[in-house]
C-alpha cells in the first residue's frame, strides 16, 4: 500500500486510487468542479490542482494516481493561487447574477467561490450574452451560465448513448450545445434530464412551471388536485434539509395541502392499476403467443428513445399508459363524474422525479377530450421543494397527513415503481399469483432488485421458467434493444428505465444525484413496501372497486380507451 502524506497527515492509500479518492477516504476535502463521481474524469477545469513537494508543476488530484512517498499540499500558496485564478477566470465569463438563478445557494461554482473566499475579482466580465434555449417543455439551457465542464456531454453520450450535446466551436467561442447550435427541441433528445442533474451550475435546468401552478391554485374556479409519484417521498426531504433517504410521505401530503391543493392523491394507486393492466397484457401475450418480449412503457424518456431509435420495437412496448397518464385520464373522467365536477374545471398537477414527464403530458394522445391535456402541469421534485420554500413552510415540523380517498390505500407494489426493478417485481407478484391461482409464499423477488444497469432473472411460474431483464440507463437500453431487434432476446418481459437506478435517480430529483444517492432512496422505497399492509397490486381494494364501479375488467374497452395508448415511428 502506498504511503503518502496529504497536508502533513500520513496515510496509506489504496493502490491505484487517485489523490482525490485517497483524500476523500480520509476526510480531506479537495475542491473539484468538472469531476463527478459516476462520470469519466476529463480533468478540464484544473480546480483540483494540488502541489506535490519536489515537483515543478501542479497536478490535478482527480486524475493523478497516488505514488508511494508523495507529499501532497492541497492548499499550498501556489495551489491556492491557481485555484483562485481559475475560479475568477470562470466567473469573468459567467452570468453570475446568483440571486436570480435557480441554483442560488445550491450551485457548485458559487460554493467553490465562497470556499475560496473570493470577494472581489481581478478580471472584467467578458461574457457575450447568448440566447437561452426554452424550446422544449422539459428543459431550459442557459449558455450564459455554462462553465464548459463537460459533465452533461459525458452523461448524454456515455450513460445515455443519445449524444445530443457536444462542444461546438473552439476556444473562447466554443459552446456546449446540440449539433449546429440547434435548439434542443429541434434535435432528438429524450428529455431524461440527466444532463440537468449533473450540471454543477444553472446552465441546464427543468422548465420551471411553478408559476403556472401558483396561478391555478389562485384561480377560484379551478378544482386543483395533485398526484405524487412514488419516488418523491424518499427524495424531497433532501432538498428541505433532511438526511438522504428520509421517508417523508406524511409531511409531503401536509405540505401539499398547505400549498392549497384541494385533493392530494398518490400515483401509487395508478401504479397498482398499471400492474393489473400490464400484468394482463403479459398474460395475454404469453397465452396467445403475442409479441414477446413485452417491454414496459412507464418511462417516457425510454419511450422517446424507442420511438426514435428503435421503432422496430414498437409492438413490443406495453400499450399501457404510464401511471401519471392513467391518473390524468381517470381524473378527468371517473373522478369528475364521481365528484360531479366539470372536467374543464379540474386542474391536474403531478409531482414527478422526472423532466421527461413534462413532455409526456403534452403528447397529443394524452388527452381524453382531444383538447386539453389530462395532466395540466408537471412539477419535478426540485420545483415542489421550491414552492414549499416560497410558501415559508417549516417542512420538518409538519404533522403527517394521509392521502385522499380512494388513494389512501395503495400497495407496496406501487411504491417500488420508483426503483429500477420495481415495476418488474410488482408485475411478477400479480402475474405469478393470478396464473398459479394460489397465494404467493414469498413476495420479495430479490433476484430482480439491485442497481446494475442490466440484470437478468429466471422466474418460475406454474412450472415453466421465464427469463426477464431489468434495465436502467438508455445506454444499456440500447444494448438490450439491439438484441430484441435482431431476434436474439431470450426474455419474455423487460423493464426499462432511462435513469440510473430508475426514478429514484431521475432527472428531476435533487441536483447532484449520484448512483450512491439513488441507491439510498431505493432502500427507503423497499422499506415503504415492507411496511405496507397491502403489498400486491391486485389486493388493493380501491383498485378492485374501480374495476367494479367503472372499468369493468382489465383490458376492457373502457380500460383500453382510458388507460392504454399507441406509439409512433419517429425516426
Amino acid at each position: 500500500m502506498p504511503k503518502i502524506k496529504i497536508n502533513n497527515l500520513e496515510i496509506f492509500a489504496d493502490p491505484g486510487s487517485t489523490i482525490l479518492e485517497a483524500a476523500k477516504e480520509h476526510n480531506i476535502n479537495i475542491p473539484t468542479l468538472c469531476y463527478y463521481p459516476d462520470l469519466h474524469i476529463n480533468s478540464d477545469c484544473r480546480i483540483c490542482s494540488v502541489e506535490i513537494v519536489g515537483q515543478k508543476g501542479l497536478v490535478t488530484a482527480c486524475s493523478t494516481p497516488v505514488k508511494d512517498g508523495m507529499d501532497i499540499k492541497v492548499n499550498s500558496p501556489r495551489a491556492l493561487n491557481a485555484r483562485r485564478t481559475i475560479t475568477e477566470m470562470i466567473l469573468a465569463n459567467h452570468d453570475a447574477h446568483c440571486t436570480t438563478c435557480i441554483r442560488n445557494l445550491n450551485c457548485e461554482l458559487q460554493t467553490l467561490a465562497d470556499n475560496l473566499g473570493i470577494d472581489a475579482t481581478r478580471y472584467e466580465n467578458i461574457l457575450e450574452p447568448k440566447a437561452i434555449d426554452t424550446s422544449s417543455y422539459s428543459l431550459v439551457r442557459n449558455p450564459n451560465r455554462c462553465i464548459k465542464c463537460g459533465r452533461c456531454i459525458d452523461v448524454c453520450q456515455s450513460v445515455q448513448s443519445v449524444s445530443v450535446l457536444e462542444i461546438i466551436g473552439r476556444g473562447r467561442e466554443s459552446v456546449v450545445s446540440p449539433a449546429y447550435g440547434k435548439l434542443i427541441a429541434d434535435v432528438f433528445c429524450t428529455y431524461c434530464g440527466q444532463c440537468s442533474s449533473v450540471c454543477p451550475v444553472g446552465a441546464i435546468t427543468e422548465k420551471d412551471d411553478t408559476d403556472e401552478v401558483w396561478k391555478a391554485l389562485d384561480a377560484h374556479s379551478k378544482h386543483v388536485i395533485v398526484q405524487v409519484a412514488p419516488a418523491i417521498r424518499v427524495s424531497l426531504g433532501e432538498d428541505l434539509g433532511l438526511p438522504l433517504g428520509s421517508i417523508v410521505t406524511g409531511k409531503l401530503i401536509s405540505a401539499l395541502k398547505m400549498l392549497g391543493f384541494s385533493k392530494v392523491f398518490d400515483t401509487n394507486f395508478t401504479a397498482d392499476l398499471t400492474v393489473i393492466e400490464e400484468g394482463h397484457e403479459l398474460i395475454n401475450r404469453i397465452s396467445n403467443k403475442g409479441v414477446l418480449p413485452l417491454i414496459t412503457s412507464c418511462c417516457p424518456a425510454w419511450i422517446n428513445f424507442a420511438e426514435h431509435e428503435y421503432p422496430e420495437l414498437i409492438d413490443n412496448l406495453s400499450t399501457c399508459k404510464s401511471p401519471q397518464q392513467m391518473f390524468g385520464a381517470l381524473a378527468k373522467t371517473y373522478y369528475a363524474k364521481r365528484e360531479n365536477i366539470d372536467p374543464k374545471d379540474i386542474y391536474v398537477v403531478s409531482i414527478m422525479p422526472c423532466t421527461a414527464k413534462k413532455t409526456e403530458a403534452r403528447r397529443p394522445e394524452m388527452s381524453v377530450n382531444n383538447e386539453d391535456p389530462d395532466v395540466d402541469t408537471v412539477l419535478t421534485t426540485r420545483e415542489l421543494a421550491k414552492m414549499i420554500k416560497q410558501m415559508g413552510i417549516d417542512f420538518n415540523n409538519l404533522r403527517e397527513s394521509n392521502f385522499d380517498k380512494p388513494d389512501e390505500v395503495t400497495s407496496g407494489a406501487g411504491a417500488i415503481f420508483g426503483a429500477s426493478g420495481g415495476v418488474m417485481e410488482a408485475a411478477l407478484r400479480t402475474v405469478k399469483e393470478v396464473l398459479e391461482n394460489k397465494p404467493l409464499k414469498i413476495l420479495d423477488f430479490e433476484q430482480v432488485r439491485g442497481t446494475e444497469h442490466i440484470r437478468h432473472a429466471d422466474v418460475e411460474i406454474n412450472g415453466a421458467t421465464y427469463k426477464v431483464a431489468i434495465v436502467n440507463t438508455l445506454g444499456s437500453a440500447r444494448e438490450i434493444a439491439e438484441q430484441v431487434k435482431t431476434g436474439n432476446s431470450p426474455y419474455s418481459f423487460i423493464e426499462i428505465m432511462a435513469c440510473p437506478g430508475g426514478c429514484v435517480g431521475g432527472g428531476g430529483q435533487p441536483y447532484g444525484t449520484t448512483h450512491a444517492k439513488a441507491r439510498e432512496r431505493m432502500h427507503s422505497l423497499y422499506q415503504v413496501d415492507r411496511l405496507s399492509k397491502i403489498r400486491k397490486a391486485h389486493d388493493n381494494p380501491a383498485v378492485s372497486n374501480l374495476y367494479t364501479s367503472f372499468l369493468g375488467n382489465p383490458s376492457s374497452s373502457i380500460a383500453h380507451e382510458l388507460l392504454h395508448t399507441h406509439y409512433t415511428n419517429k425516426r
Binding site: 450535446l165 457536444e166 461546438i168 466551436g169 466554443s174 449539433a179
Partner: protein, 154 residues
C-alpha cells in the same frame, strides 16, 4: 463527386473521420459541408452526428459555409501578429477585395482566419488550401494571388 463514393473508399471506423472530412471537402466544389452530409458521414461511421459536428467546428480547415476555390487562411495567433510588419490582414483584404469570412464574386477566393499553423518560425504565414506560405512580405503575398489567377487563366 458524391459523398457515397468518397465514403466507399474508407473503412467504417471512427478513426477515419478526419480523413473522410478532408478528402470530401477537397473534392467538393464549394469546399464546405452541409448538414445532411455530416449526418451521412456520422451514419456511415456509426458515430453521433453531434460528434462530427463538433470536429468540424473545432478545426479551422473545415467549414460549413460555401467557399471559393482558393481558401486563404490567416493565422491570428501571437507570433504571426508580432512578425507582421506590413499589415497582412488589410493587405490581403485589399488585394482580394473581400473581408474575412467572404468569398469573391467569381467564386475563386475565400478569406478566413485560422488558428496557429505551426509555422511560427516563418511567421507571418498563411495557408492557401493545402499549402502553407511563410516569411511573407507584401510582394510575396501579391505573387501568391497572381499565381492562383494565372493558373485559372491558363
Amino acid at each position: 463527386m458524391i459523398l457515397a463514393e468518397v465514403l466507399k473508399r474508407f473503412p467504417k471506423k471512427k478513426e477515419y473521420l478526419i480523413e473522410i472530412l478532408l478528402e470530401y471537402q477537397k473534392q467538393k466544389e464549394t469546399h464546405h459541408f452541409e448538414e445532411h452530409e455530416l449526418k451521412e458521414i456520422a451514419n456511415y461511421l456509426n458515430i453521433p452526428e453531434s460528434r462530427v459536428c463538433s470536429v468540424v467546428g473545432f478545426y479551422t480547415f473545415f467549414s460549413t459555409e460555401p467557399r471559393g476555390k482558393y481558401i486563404f487562411q490567416i493565422c491570428r495567433d501571437l507570433p504571426c501578429q508580432l512578425n507582421d510588419n506590413f499589415d497582412l490582414l488589410s493587405s490581403i483584404q485589399m488585394i482580394l477585395g473581400i473581408k474575412v469570412g467572404e468569398t469573391t464574386q467569381d467564386g475563386l477566393f475565400t478569406l478566413e482566419y485560422t488558428s496557429c499553423l505551426g509555422h511560427c518560425d516563418k511567421s507571418p504565414a498563411i495557408r492557401v488550401n493545402d499549402k502553407i506560405h511563410g516569411s511573407l512580405s507584401l510582394n510575396k503575398l501579391k505573387a501568391i494571388v497572381a499565381e492562383c489567377k494565372e493558373k485559372e487563366n491558363a
